[in-house]
């Protein structure tokens, strides 16, 4: 059975992606261990690195980079939008801090 998405290159790229993922993980662990950043900056850096790692896994290991563009767009846009919608309620968490609740 054939699908109309074009094929990927071969196994070399998967080893590169694996290496990149291990490297990014090592960067995260070193940053956490050395504690050079404030917690807020640490969170920002960790989230950016996590999104990069997620993108590598989705694009190459899950093969989404090689699917048709409409499938990539529909899947990614719908999931990302739904996840971002939840973030609206973080303002409520910050509000609780100023209420003085122990």
């Amino acid at each position: 059975m054939h699908n109309i998405a074009h094929t990927d290159e071969g196994k070399g790229q998967y080893f590169w992606v694996w290496g990149a993922l291990l490297f990014l993980t090592a960067v995260e662990v070193v940053l956490a261990y050395e504690q050079v950043l404030t917690p807020l900056h640490m969170l920002e850096v960790l989230m950016v690195l996590s999104v990069v790692k997620a993108a590598l896994i989705i694009a190459y290991f899950m093969h989404l980079k090689f699917e048709v563009p409409i499938m990539r767009f529909l899947l990614m846009a719908s999931i990302v939008i739904c996840l971002c919608l939840m973030c609206i309620f973080f303002a409520d968490a910050a509000r609780i801090l100023s209420l003085g609740v122990r």
């Binding site: 998967y14 940053l31 261990y33 917690p39 899950m62 409409i70 939840m86 409520d92 910050a94």
Partner: protein, 252 residues
């Protein structure tokens, strides 16, 4: 048959497949989309609790971080072996597929064992889903930790069983049952695995139902679809590891 009244150019061909992909793949992607929202909601709840509680404990010392890093490396390596298994399935090399899937299961099992050992250590220190010894005023710490990591560990366990069924089919059932029985008899009650081992029995029952009610030869599509599930499990860990572990390192 419903297609008798409809004329086709080619026998058995209906409209073109959605996104040019076979329906099993679309189905798995739809499931993964919904599961990512489940984990997203759990991670949001954890983050909300954390932001609104400045006294959130940070108990993970060097040993825990090292353990979690090794677990991450195991999952990343399992994703690599999984994708190599998918490549082998496209080549039609059934022996290589089985070996790569077994390697993936090995790394997944290593993750589960290391994670269970971590849980056992934390429970021995006095952590429960409702209390923790480091910040008694923040009872949510245990609940969010065990829910997030427990849900993820359940997905990994189901994934390992799923891969075992695809790799070994009915031969996997006696292996699962022997592992369950050995675990049940040999693991002491102080370990979380003493209770968690029953997941293997449940998995064996469900797998047996599927394989006996719907016997089939699993082809490259089945391998690819199981690979999608496995990579998703790895993907979720890419968020749980930094948010739960790396943001809670013990500040000395």
């Amino acid at each position: 048959m419903a297609d008798v009244a409809v004329h086709h150019d080619l026998a058995g061909e209906f409209e073109p497949s959605l996104f040019g992909a076979y329906s099993k793949k679309i189905g798995m992607w739809l499931f993964l989309a919904s599961d990512s929202l489940t984990f997203g909601a759990l991670l949001f709840a954890y983050s909300y609790g954390r932001i609104s509680n400045p006294a959130w404990p940070t108990p993970f010392a060097k040993e825990s971080i090292l353990n979690a890093t090794i677990m991450t490396a195991c999952l990343l390596s399992s994703s690599l072996t999984m994708v190599l298994g998918v490549l082998a399935s496209h080549r039609g090399d059934k022996g290589a597929v089985r070996n790569w899937l077994l390697a993936t299961m090995f790394f997944g099992s290593a993750f589960i064992v290391l994670h269970g050992m971590e849980w056992t250590k934390l429970i021995a220190e006095g952590m429960t889903p409702f209390t923790n010894p480091w910040a008694p005023g923040v009872p949510q710490f245990g609940g969010t930790f065990f829910t997030l990591t427990g849900m993820h560990m359940l997905h990994v366990t189901i994934g390992v069983i799923y891969l075992g069924v695809v790799a070994l089919r009915k031969k996997f059932l006696p292996i699962l049952l022997v592992l369950w029985l050995a675990g049940y008899l040999l693991i002491p009650s102080t370990s979380v695995f003493h209770y968690g081992i029953h997941v293997l029995l449940l998995g064996a029952i469900v797998s047996a139902m599927i394989m006996f009610l719907h016997p089939k030869d699993y082809d490259s599509h089945d391998v690819e679809v199981s690979g999608l599930y496995w990579h998703f499990v790895d993907l979720v860990w890419m968020f749980i590891f930094p948010l739960v572990y790396l943001m809670s390192t013990k500040i000395v």
